[in-house]
């Protein structure tokens, strides 16, 4: 076939020169789609060979369907494959620019740069598209043979293909840009690393510094590392990890990472990088082959950017390794900037003697690194003392101490999220006056002046600004002095609804609550609650409306109720909500008691009667740090009272809190006044052995006779009290 001097002839002839890449791409997708699928499905089928019961056959079909679904729809491996291919195809197409003979050959031909770029660019895309689609169809044929193909898979596969195509284009254009900016392949690879990773690395560096030096830097801010503007890789992985469920079940949408948003983001990046690569191709001088950088004007800019990042990393590293020593950190800055400069010079000039030249940019970079480091270290921008102006804030999310993890997954109508994510996304407090009044009382401390005297507690605040940005902060507050304001926040409807999903209207109906269990942490396990779920939840809601934050703050919960719901999307998926019951929850407690649950007694009589001994230990670790002349043994730092009289057990256990309750939210959970209380019960399987449980007392509730008994015992001694 001869295509005389036409665009198609150029395309055809160029494709002849790219055969090996075509076949490599073809083989890759051949192995991925029909190859892997055939082996996997065959493997599953052979494992169920001879099985005839319908349940197993259904399971086999499910496994095969799952395999097909994972392969054709989005998964974490395919982007890796595509990134590799995009880099290879991009480099192979444009690497001729690094070879003088090829440049002379091609650029002396009567073919405009626009046309040559278009031919090379188009062929690269065709290689990807053709080899992907052929093998995807072959894979679908295999899936059909195994009876796993469906319209949903087909549509999903097409949707996945378009997303992958956009990812390919983004990375492909970055690879072309790397080739165009440089003059040899090795430097191109380095440039690609810089183009793909610089922004992420710079963001990570910023977060490391802020986390280390700003005491009010909120943990949510760390996620901003991934708020990249220029990374197709982050875009696709965010979607796969955070929004991927939407792909399989359209109802499970995460509104930030939908298919449409991701596709749009990838398209914009692919387009921008495409335009840049086209522009650079027009402007790149043919004689740039062999040079490290093709555009001399960007050399120093690049050097500055790399040195600032590398120097900041070095400063931070040495500062920490040297025990947060500022002088050593600055020495690290000098060393790493000099090292970076030497490496860059070596790459630029390919001459060892050149490493001692061109210090101006390196010096400017060093000064920048030092200023940035000191700026963070001494908070020159006043970050820790500043909060967003109230007028700039749309709404806030707050997370108070003693309100936290309850092992719950909170189900949303469109997806499942863990407690914190749910709260962070749903809580939109707009009554900012109270929040700002509370924040006025925050402790004005900085990383350099911090002292943890145990009187501060944290309050996490996420400011949602009117300009669409967010600012996550962690402030320090003396809660006991601010309980009035905290109570007000706690009673806000926005707070309660986001803090506790059970407070939603029609909760039982919406989440198909079918059962509930009661657990007081005593080790008796969960007891089923024989009550109407609607009545139970209504009683609980009424109690929550009446409870104050002050009570939650000061008290241990009495028990935990787990509400079980049937999954919204499919029957197999179950979700549970754990709600905590406090002393003042009169309505709930009454309902529980009506159902035959003894709420008042945490430890039942049979347990108390089985106690063999109770050991109370008082630790005083301060004794461990005497002067050198007064060496104290570890054994001398505590004293122990052992109770063996069953009559006193009931008195001791009356107010004791089970050890498992310790993990339930309560500010006092780690505060046992320095006492450790161990309960020994016989091991039914071994008469000579004991079970040992630990119990706790809320602050101030330790029985006085124990305190009196321990008073009489000197440190280092153990006394049996009968």
């Amino acid at each position: 076939m001869t295509l005389k001097n036409s665009f198609l002839a150029d395309v055809y002839e160029n494709m002849k020169r790219r055969n090996w890449v075509f076949w490599l791409s073809f083989l890759t997708f051949l192995c991925y789609f029909p190859g892997y699928l055939m082996l996997s499905l065959n493997n599953i089928r052979s494992r169920y060979e001879g099985v005839t019961d319908s349940a197993s056959l259904i399971r086999m079909q499910e496994r095969m369907d799952e395999t097909v679904e994972v392969l054709f729809l989005l998964n974490g491996f395919m982007p890796v494959l595509i990134i590799g291919l995009a880099i290879l195809i991009g480099m192979q197409g444009f690497a001729y620019l690094h070879n003088k003979r090829q440049v002379d050959f091609y650029h002396s031909q009567p073919v405009s740069r626009k046309r040559r770029f278009t031919v090379l660019w188009l062929n690269g895309i065709m290689i990807f598209v053709v080899t992907y689609l052929i093998n995807m169809v072959l894979g679908m044929a295999v899936a059909t043979v195994f009876g796993c193909m469906s319209g949903v898979i087909f549509t999903g596969a097409i949707k996945a293909f378009f997303l992958y195509l956009l990812l390919f284009l983004g990375i492909y254009h970055i690879a072309i840009i790397a080739i165009l900016l440089t003059g040899n392949t090795l430097v191109s690879l380095l440039a690609m690393g810089v183009l793909l990773g610089y922004e992420l690395a710079a963001r990570a560096m910023n977060v490391f510094m802020a986390t280390s030096f700003f005491i009010t830097y909120g943990s949510g801010e760390e996620e901003k590392i991934f708020d990249t503007l220029f990374s197709p890789i982050v875009n696709i992985y965010k979607y796969i990890i955070l929004g991927g469920r939407e792909y399989n079940y359209s109802q499970y949408a995460n509104e930030n990472y939908t298919y449409g948003n991701t596709a749009l983001g990838l398209f914009v990046l692919a387009f921008v990088f495409g335009v840049v690569s086209f522009f650079l191709y027009q402007k790149r001088a043919s004689e740039s082959h062999g040079n490290s950088i093709s555009f001399p004007k960007i050399k120093e800019v690049l050097r500055f950017m790399l040195l600032v990042l590398m120097g900041s990393f070095g400063t931070y590293l040495i500062y920490y390794v040297a025990g947060e020593n500022v002088a050593m950190g600055l020495a690290g800055a000098v060393f790493f900037v000099a090292l970076g400069h030497a490496v860059i010079q070596l790459i630029y000039e390919v001459d060892f003697r050149a490493i001692c030249k061109k210090w101006l940019t390196a010096t400017i970079s060093l000064v920048t690194v030092i200023l940035v480091f000191l700026g963070f270290k001494y908070d020159w921008t006043g970050y820790d003392q500043r909060i967003p102006k109230q007028s700039q804030v749309e709404s806030v999310y707050v997370s108070l101490a003693a309100e936290g993890f309850t092992n719950s997954n909170y189900v949303m109508m469109d997806g499942t999220e863990i407690y914190h994510q749910y709260k962070a996304r749903r809580m939109e407090i707009t009554d900012l006056d109270i929040i700002y009044k509370l924040l006025e009382n925050r402790e004005r401390i900085s990383m350099n002046t911090r002292t943890f005297d145990g009187t501060y507690e944290t309050i996490d605040v996420n400011f949602r600004l009117k300009n669409g940005k967010t600012d996550y902060r962690r402030f320090y507050l003396r809660y006991e002095e601010n309980l009035g304001l905290l109570d007000e926040i706690y009673h806000m409807e926005e707070y309660q609804l986001a803090n506790n999903q059970v407070m939603e209207e029609d909760f039982v109906e919406n989440y198909r609550i079918v059962s509930a269990t009661y657990n007081n942490g005593s080790g008796n396990g969960a007891t089923p609650i024989d009550a109407d779920m609607q009545a139970l939840v209504e009683a609980y809601k009424k109690d929550v409306e009446n409870v104050s934050y002050t009570e939650v703050y000061y008290n241990y919960p009495k028990a935990q109720i787990s509400l079980m719901g049937i999954g919204i999307m499919n029957e197999e998926y179950r979700n549970s909500w754990n709600i905590l019951i406090y002393d003042s929850y009169k309505n709930t407690i009454a309902l529980l008691e009506e159902s035959g649950i003894d709420v008042e007694h945490v430890f039942d009589e049979s347990f108390i009667n089985s106690i063999q001994k109770i050991e109370v230990r008082l630790d005083d670790y301060k004794l461990l740090t005497p002067s050198a002349t007064e060496q104290v043994s570890y054994l001398d730092t505590y004293k122990t009272a052992i109770y063996t009289n069953p009559e006193v057990y009931e008195k001791i256990m009356e107010n004791a809190v089970p050890s498992t309750n310790r993990w339930w939210p309560n500010r006092n959970r780690s505060d046992n006044d320095g006492y450790s209380i161990y309960i020994y019960t016989p091991n039914p399987y071994n008469a000579s052995d004991y079970y040992m449980d630990e119990v706790y007392f809320q602050t101030g509730e330790m029985p006085q006779f124990i305190i009196d008994d321990l008073e009489k015992i000197p440190f280092g001694e153990e006394v049996i009290i009968k």
Partner: protein, 301 residues
């Protein structure tokens, strides 16, 4: 016609071509000679549209050449190290080039391959350096472009092949008005074939003239003056570029036509004098010596 007006090209801090103005007439063979590093290849790469000048203009038939298909379609560039596709044979090159050059003559291509005993099915990478140059020249000639730029193309060819190719060039010039532009160090080769010669040194043009004019305007004189006074008179009357004296025999290179030199000598008292034509190589040495490129410095310093 190819016109270069104040063309400059810089690599980092070095001006490879500095303010060069030249004209390459259609139907003539233009020879580009120059010292090492004079900028010949850079100049040719600009003429071929590969590189963009940093200053000045390169026009082919009044059309700017850089990234201009309309201008470049009339030019074929044969670099000093020609490129062929990996694993390609003659047939592959023919198929490719005819999609690029509208007037590519496939019949002539295969005829030439046969004449030059180059196997069209053999991988070009297995050819010798000389054979690869032959292949490049055949590709260039068969592209049927108006201008054929050859950078050191004749180096590496055996004398018979050189003569053969010169003859083919002559045929193409006669039949279709080919204008070859040839850069070479081999001045003896250029002397036979070129009509016009451009002499480059340190990025600038020392001279660019019709070779015949050039030869007519510079003469070598061997003479024996009667007295030293006569010798001094001769130095004042003639534009002497070079002078060497061995015993009484004085050898000079001077500007001027043979007649002008002879007229000057009729007024001088000499024992003997003879005016001889200069070879291109001798002209090159004389002209470059004037601008400081002195071979004696290389040998005796």
């Amino acid at each position: 016609m190819i016109t270069l007006t104040n063309v400059s090209k810089r690599f980092d801090d070095v001006w490879a071509v500095n303010n060069v103005s030249l004209t390459m007439q259609e139907g003539n063979v233009f020879g580009l000679i120059g010292t090492n590093g004079a900028g010949k290849t850079t100049l040719l790469r600009m003429v071929a549209g590969i590189m963009k000048p940093d200053g000045g203009h390169v026009l082919i038939d009044d059309k700017p050449v850089f990234d201009n298909e309309n201008a470049i379609k009339d030019v074929y560039f044969i670099p000093d190290e020609p490129f062929f596709f990996r694993n390609a044979n003659g047939k592959d090159m023919e198929k490719y080039l005819k999609t690029i050059y509208e007037k590519f003559d496939s019949n002539a291509f295969y005829e030439y391959l046969e004449k030059f005993s180059l196997d069209k099915n053999r991988k070009i990478s297995t050819f010798s350096k000389g054979m690869q140059k032959q292949m490049a020249i055949i590709c260039g000639l068969c592209a049927n472009t108006k201008y054929l730029i050859c950078d050191e193309t004749f180096d590496g060819l055996d004398p018979v092949m050189r003569q053969g190719i010169k003859a083919i060039f002559a045929n193409h010039m006669e039949e279709r008005g080919l204008t070859p532009i040839i850069a070479s160090h081999n001045l003896r080769e250029l002397e036979d074939i070129c009509d016009t010669v451009g002499l480059l040194h340190k990025g600038g043009v020392i001279l660019s003239k019709d070779l015949l004019d050039m030869k007519c305007n510079i003469q070598k004189i061997q003479c024996v003056f009667a007295t030293e006074e006569e010798e001094n008179k001769a130095m004042q009357k003639l534009a002497v570029l070079q002078k060497e004296k061995r015993g009484m025999l004085c050898t000079m290179t001077a500007r001027g036509s043979k007649e002008e030199i002879q007229t000057a000598f009729t007024t001088l008292d000499t024992v003997f004098y003879e005016v001889l034509p200069l070879s291109l190589e001798e002209i090159f040495i004389s002209e470059t010596e004037v601008v400081g490129y002195d071979i004696k410095k290389l040998i005796f310093s």
